[in-house]
Point group: C2
Chain length 215, copies 2
């Protein structure tokens, strides 16, 4: 495969500008754009080509309200584990925008997809989750070039989400993705701006030949 | 963020043409290109901005040979679970190219990165693995635009890889990625060409409002 300098730059532009968004406008998303980002997700890699994912598209206000309730319940439960200043800082973070965003996509992973002996899953059982995450990353990058904002919500009890969306017990609701347009697209990660966490130095994360070598 | 039509097309081109590669040339990879794809990985999303990943770059022939040995041992063990025609088909697949590729990147995930109460990890413990997979997908797309081939090897016992690369017991060796140039870049997934598995119809994977709705 050959890619021009312009094509390379386009990929790096989207990789470096993709952000996790919590603030959305109510504007609806054209159906063909939704299909484009799902198509990108479906062309993610999967171990043994198992394609373990499903996509539940939620636009109903009542269902979104129940998902937001599940996320908020978990947020309040998590706050109890923080103390003093960190607790106040945590409670001041906007951690989800489920009700604001016109669309929530619940991405699930089916650990039985492809049968009992999927190539690779026998060695590393979590390969279905890893594959599903790669599909989500494709969708996220596609959403970004389409001018959409996407927020990955990971505060919820999986059984709450299963109950709300009628998901069978063996299916893993890996992510709730809020999708919509926004007029507040940040240039830096929200948690960096909020002084919650800093970006690490890449060089400190690289080892040579074995773990713990000089960086 | 605004992306032109050309930039959108570039992203979809790389998403649709990214392949899992098992056949490599011996040509070395320029150091700046390796850094570019690692930089792309490091700009993947991570829950709570925990950035749980490390990258161990392996180029030594002796170490690559030991990793290839671990993968081949696992391949032979897995073959025992297949029977008759499926077994022959499995054994005929080329499942890794570790010794051929000039570089293997072991991507690890540290479940302790960021401390005991990382935002999101308290709710969904596997968020560190999901984040690491997103980083790998960024790297894979970057490798593709750089004209590199990448193969994700997921046949190994994690403790074999820990032993070979001196990885501490609590660190998860999520992936072994073979990276190099190739003169055999396939247009379709290798497992599709080998009639191992077909690509599913996207429409059959989409539900509306709740699981199991009419597609």
């Amino acid at each position: 495969m050959f890619f021009s300098e312009q094509e390379k730059e386009a990929l790096y532009k989207v990789i470096y500008n993709r952000r996790d968004i919590r603030t959305f406008l109510a504007d609806p998303i054209p159906a063909d754009v939704i299909l484009k980002i799902l198509h990108a997700a479906h062309h993610g890699p999967s171990v043994g080509f198992m394609q373990p994912w499903n996509f539940i598209l939620v636009t109903g206000e009542a269902t979104k309200a129940r998902l937001a309730w599940a996320a908020d319940k978990e947020r309040r439960a998590l706050a109890i584990h923080y103390e003093d200043q960190r607790k106040e800082q945590f409670l001041s973070l906007k951690v989800e925008g489920i009700q604001q965003a016109p669309l929530t996509i619940c991405v699930t992973s089916d650990p039985t997809r492809g049968g009992s002996h999927v190539l690779g899953r026998n060695s590393i059982p979590e390969t279905d989750l890893l594959s599903t995450a790669c599909a989500i990353q494709n969708m996220w990058l596609a959403a970004c070039v389409e001018g959409l904002a996407l927020g990955w919500v990971s505060f919820y009890k999986k059984n709450d989400v299963r109950d709300i969306l009628d998901i069978p017990p063996h299916i893993d609701p890996v992510a709730l993705l809020s999708v919509g347009y926004t007029d507040k697209y940040p240039s830096k990660p929200l948690l960096e701006t909020a002084n919650w966490e800093k970006r690490r130095e890449l060089q400190e994360l690289i080892y040579h030949e074995h773990w713990g070598s000089e960086n």
